[in-house]
Amino acid sequence: MSVLIRVEQAAFGYGGRAVIAGADLEIRRGDFLGIVGPNGGGKTTLFRGILGLLAPLAGRVERAGARLGYVPQRETLDAIYPLRVEDVVRMGAYAGLRGLRWLSAAQRAAAARAIERVGLAGEARAPFASLSGGQRQRALLARALLAEPNVLLLDEPTSGVDRGAQRRILDLLVELNARDGLAVLLVSHQLGLLRETAREVLWVADGRVLRGPARELLAPEGLDRLFGAAPFAEGG
């Protein structure tokens, strides 16, 4: 399958100091990858590097075939903004605005379809800040879908939401991956959920990246191997 993102011998870090070094990986159409690892191991650094929010200190990242859809952590978004769900979702079309920079009827219709697809049709005109954590996450997913991505990158999409909402979000991602061939890459601490959902994981620790099947790496014996004698407590 076609390569959408290729990372070659890349180092990522801050202030000239590499947190991740020598990373090699490819993200292809249809991949479903989780990024996991201990706190401070470099998960977020790798994720930001793949997204293009961090320039590589060494090596290179090719995204020539990728149309990125990004779902940030909802806690980073300030509730002081008076925005309805449809306002937030329509932001996904802002990069494509032309002329007078008004949204076209087609863009509005696409936003409505994206809202419907994530199951929020009844909440389209509700204030974004009044939604539950899981609903807000789905609204951000709808916004990412409006950009018609072929790679979806999600930062902790299931943290801080109840078990039912976690399941709905992950089921949606599985459906998008299976039906549309959308590549999915998500950072998560919730290893149990990832083991059931992701096909592969990128284990990020001590500045290195290890790729393997989710069911093997995230099984208790796999985690024992990764953590040595002291496996960390599994979240979620």
């Binding site: 997204l51 293009g52 929010l53 990125l68 990004y70 940030p72 980073t76 978004l77 300030d78 002081i80 903004y81 008076p82 925005l83 309805r84 306002d87 932001m91 996904g92 802002y94 990069a95 605005l97 007078l100 920079r101 204030p127 916004r143 950009a147 990158l153």
Partner: protein, 293 residues
Amino acid sequence: MLDTSWLERLELFLWPLCAALLAGLVLPAVGVHLLVRRASFHGIVLPQFAAAGVVFAYALLPWWIETIGLGGLTLEGALHDPHAASTFGLAWGAVFTVCGILLLVRAARGSGSEVARAAAGFATASALVLVLGRLSPVGRGPIDALLGGEVLGVGLHEFEVLAAALALSALLLAWFGRDILLASFDRESARVLGLPTGAIEALFQGLVGLAVAAGTLTLGPVLVFGLLVLPPLAARPWVRSMRAFVALSVALGAASALLGEAAALHWDLPLGPSVVLTAAVALVPAPLAARRT
């Protein structure tokens, strides 16, 4: 109360009234974006920098005319030529405002309290206004009038300068409003979507600087920071969308300008503070909205 009819007063003070009304229409729309960025204190600090720039321009004027020249004008001629004085003041007001913006942007990125650094900037700019005012060849009168919001001396040329600057700011805000909103609400997503967030931020700060510098030169810092801060603060609890937020803020700003002008004319009060106090009244019902939601 003034001993003239309303019609005569309107005729006499046409341009100051038009200038305050125009500011009431545009500055709250700019203030909306400052409020959602939690940067309303910029609305207080930046006009003070702009005022320092205008006062600095007056203090600098004798040296400037002697050394560089100002269209062949003498000092006396420049002080009596509204075009020369206001353009020179606007230029320096803009320079100081840009310096204030850079300072605030730096404060936001630096360590420690951003608000404390902004407060330090405000204190410095306020002190500069007073010290430079002492050096001004025009004396304290015009500077006290500027700082106190007594804007009844505004003429056609000052109004034209203000109208051009505010119209440009409003146009940029309307045209690029969506980009400015996304870049502040979710900067990382804006970058991933391919928006040039650095250029958008520079554009926003530029239009704020332009509106603040022109507003302060013409109407004084009191009216400018009052209209940047109060109408959006009063409007926020009542709205559910950015469009409604801007519309209500602008409506409150315009209503404050009209009612404040009427009060100033009727009771012979300083125009700027009258408008600001009227805008402050709009804050009173805000707790009702909070209870409603």
